[in-house]
Symmetry: C2
Subunit: 241 residues, 2 copies
Amino acid sequence: MSAATQPKLDTSSAQTRQALIEAGGAVFAEVGFHNATVREICRRAGANGAAVNYHFGDKDALYREVLAYYQARALQKFPLDMGVQPGAPAPERLRAFVRSFLLRIFDHSSDAWHGKLISREMIDPTSALDAIVVERIRPQAQHLAAIVRELIGGQADPETVRLCSFSLVSQCLFYHHCQPVVSRLFPEQKFSTEQVEKLADHITSFSLAAIKACSRRGEEAERPLAPKKSASSPRRLRAAR
Amino acid sequence: MSAATQPKLDTSSAQTRQALIEAGGAVFAEVGFHNATVREICRRAGANGAAVNYHFGDKDALYREVLAYYQARALQKFPLDMGVQPGAPAPERLRAFVRSFLLRIFDHSSDAWHGKLISREMIDPTSALDAIVVERIRPQAQHLAAIVRELIGGQADPETVRLCSFSLVSQCLFYHHCQPVVSRLFPEQKFSTEQVEKLADHITSFSLAAIKACSRRGEEAERPLAPKKSASSPRRLRAAR
DNA sequence: TGCCAATTCAAACGAGCGTTTGAAATATCG
DNA sequence: CGATATTTCAAACGCTCGTTTGAATTGGCA
């Protein structure tokens, strides 16, 4: 199977590297790091079985490169705010967050493995998870927490903010994590782009209503541990401290 | 550890079988079917490495037995309705459902692997998933759907019911599926029994408010004698007011 | 062209896995 | 007790995995 018939514009080495990264993205996203085999990655890349070790050192190093590569692509393709202005109303920013999150995970284009890779990393972590949490997940969590905090208003209890953020993210992740079950329960459920938009609609409105309720509940019963400070805010407090 | 009641009245074979099932439950729940090794299960059971094949045939058969064993235990320990009457108000039944779901997953007692096993099966399915969906998950889904349908009231749109059910289940599963990330983001987050109760409170009230909003949205859309279905047009972002 | 470094290749290595094997140990029973 | 069936055991088999190896091939350059 010699491919020597066509001239090589780019250096052959760089071509092989790139092919390995792309095949690796596909395989890692499909079956996860632990179930992925170097042989399958090399086969899809049209490279020899020793190519991964020659170009990257070992499977772990290839995985880190794959992660970094698609992370960079995803950041420019799906920015956290989805192009929505930071000054936009919080509900609108929330919807942008949810859409961005879902589109990252369900993007069917061939070079969009980042969402699936991170989604897998959440469930079956590798040594790369620590860096991912710091570099990608924590900033997203803080971004989301800021939106939720603004939605709740007043002095939002950090624990409430955290719980609401988790409730949001969990809904987004569910359809990818539990796809095997969902597709067995409802075989008609598809994840086309328009279905994803519907999903984003549902998750956003579902959660907006819920957060607003949290906000009301928080206003009624405020400070859990501040008996000294008698905040004189009887009913609809907006007490700015 | 087990069967300290009688020295050797029980047959040695049955003892070994039971020890393998219990060790298997622990290992499968901890690392999942694919990452679990027969050797480790035998080691924990204090049995020889060939014991699994002798008593069960192969690893798959042991796994099926483990699943069946803990399924039976879980059914009597955590019934779907958690002892709440079928005639109880829907919000109360919803809360029972959420508590039951979370307790199954986070039960720290040593013989309660069922929730973790099914949770793993959702993510990384084995050939046992088809049966699990039919025998366990679908009944739970129908149970939950009935509650959600009643909460929404009126003629609840089946798709809305499905989406709301998924939103509920996803929140319950999240903390188990994404524990590696959650514990890195918030190292102080524990999953003690009382924390689980707090979680159940949050998920229940969060979702009740959201479903109530879905209900109102549905009523508005239906009352003016129902245009066909214009639900996919650009939806307003205003939350329930 | 001829040389040399870079790259590719088929083959094999060693480790870990589920499983098998045949003998040893133990229980069962006429 | 002695014969027979059951259960345990250490060892090894066959397989797949990531990785290594050394030779073959290729590409750049004097």
